[in-house]
Structures are given as C-alpha cells and as structure tokens.
Amino acid sequence: MNTQRRQALKSGGALGLFGVLVAAGLVTAEEARAAGWDKPAFDAKTMDDALKALGAGKPGESSDIMLNAPDIAENGAVVPVGVKSSLPGTEFIAILIEKNPSMLAASFTLPDGTPGDISTRVKMGQTSSVYALVKADGKYFMVSKEIKVTLGGCGG
C-alpha cells in the first residue's frame, strides 16, 4: 500500500474521502477495500449506494448462490445467515439487509482455496429482505430472501 493512500484514508474523516474518490473514479472499490475498513460501503443508506460503494453496479441473478437463513427469526438481534456460492472463482461475499439503517452488514474476501461458504449472524431491526452479493470471476451476482422478525414471549 502506498503512503499517499494511507494519508487519504487517515484524512477521510466522517465524510469518507474514499467514497468521494471511488465516486470520482480515482480509486476502485477494490482498492478502497484493501486499504482498510470500507466506511463508505458500511455507511450507505440505500441499496444503490451500497452496491455502488462496493463497486458492484447492477448485479446479475444466479441460481448458484444459496442463502441459508430462516423464514422467521425469533429475535432480530441474532439472525443466522449463511451464503454458499458454487460459482467458479468466488472471491467476495457480502451480506446486506434492506431495512437496516445501513444496508451492509458484513463482507468477506476469499483468497484462492477458500470456497464460497460462509455463515455468520446479523441484527435485523425489522422484517426485511436479506441479500447475498457475490463476486465471482470478476462479475457480481445477488440473491435475496425475506426474513420475518418477530418478538417472542416474556421469558424465553
């Protein structure tokens, strides 16, 4: 990583200079990602902005991506989400939640030898579509599933 980029990251501040640089085409989304926590992507408030910040544009559809998540979650504080991609050359996976204050929950970069198969747990403020974004062989694909969030009883 060059010094200039480090400086840019440091001085980025709350506005997210990298976001500006990405938008201006001066830095690619991949470069921003490599430089540290992708603040512009995590700050994005709409799906379009999040996809733009991730450099995903308009992702295609794919039947080779499985989103393993429950139809209904007993508690939105912990919602299990697994993404499995059998697309060759899967190199990046992101989990986005449409109705959260910020769309992007987590992203993963998979080096060669790490299959597209990741599970984690996310918070959901309300019933929402959950998206799995996958980059494979340089192209972006996305699938979604609606997860209902309920409130359980008093004691558990």
Partner: protein
C-alpha cells in the same frame, strides 16, 4: 474488554472447517442509555484468518453483525496439528488474536 475467542478448526483430510466465536459488544451506535444519550458505536471492523501464516479469509464487519459474533467458513488444505489464527480489530483500535491447532 475483549475476552479470548473460541476457535474450532477441524480437518477432514482435504478441507478445514473453521468456527469462531468472538467476545464483543458490537454496539450499533443507535441505542440510547437510560439517560437518553446515544451509546457510541463499538464494533469489530476487520478480521483476518490465517493458516500457517497464509491468509485464508479476510472480513469486514459493520455494527449489524450480532453481539458476540459467530463466523463459520472453510478452506482447502490444512492438516491436524497445523495452526489457524484469527485476529480482529475494532473501531476503537482494540484488537485480539487467538490461535488454535487444527484437529
């Protein structure tokens, strides 16, 4: 306070499956304390998993990852006795690194 992670790494001969539990508040920055003041965001931002020193996964978390995060993934290779290390940093600069021997 960052307690140790619980890491499990099991090899089936061709692949190693890794399961990680991290001890972290993952505070969103959206909640208020009883006096009405916003509780500042405090969450893991980046994590890296390595196998014998080679990166096998890097991840970025936002505040929407659940408290005490869980992560499961696998990588090709890995043999019993190998070392898998998971490290994370959070938005306050706290960090933690734990190692486990592949079983």
């Amino acid at each position: 306070m960052a307690g140790p992670m619980r890491i499990r790494a099991a090899s089936n001969g061709t692949e190693t499956e890794v399961k990680v539990l991290m001890s972290h508040e993952m505070e969103t920055g959206q909640r208020k304390d009883p006096s009405g003041a916003l509780i500042p965001a405090h969450h893991i931002t980046e994590l890296t998993a390595t196998h014998n020193g080679r990166v096998v996964l890097s991840g970025q978390f936002g505040p929407a990852v659940s408290k005490n995060p869980y992560l499961q993934f696998r990588f090709k290779g890995g043999a019993k006795g190998d070392k898998v290390t998971v490290s994370w940093v959070d938005n306050k600069g706290d960090k933690r690194s734990d190692e486990v021997v592949v079983s």
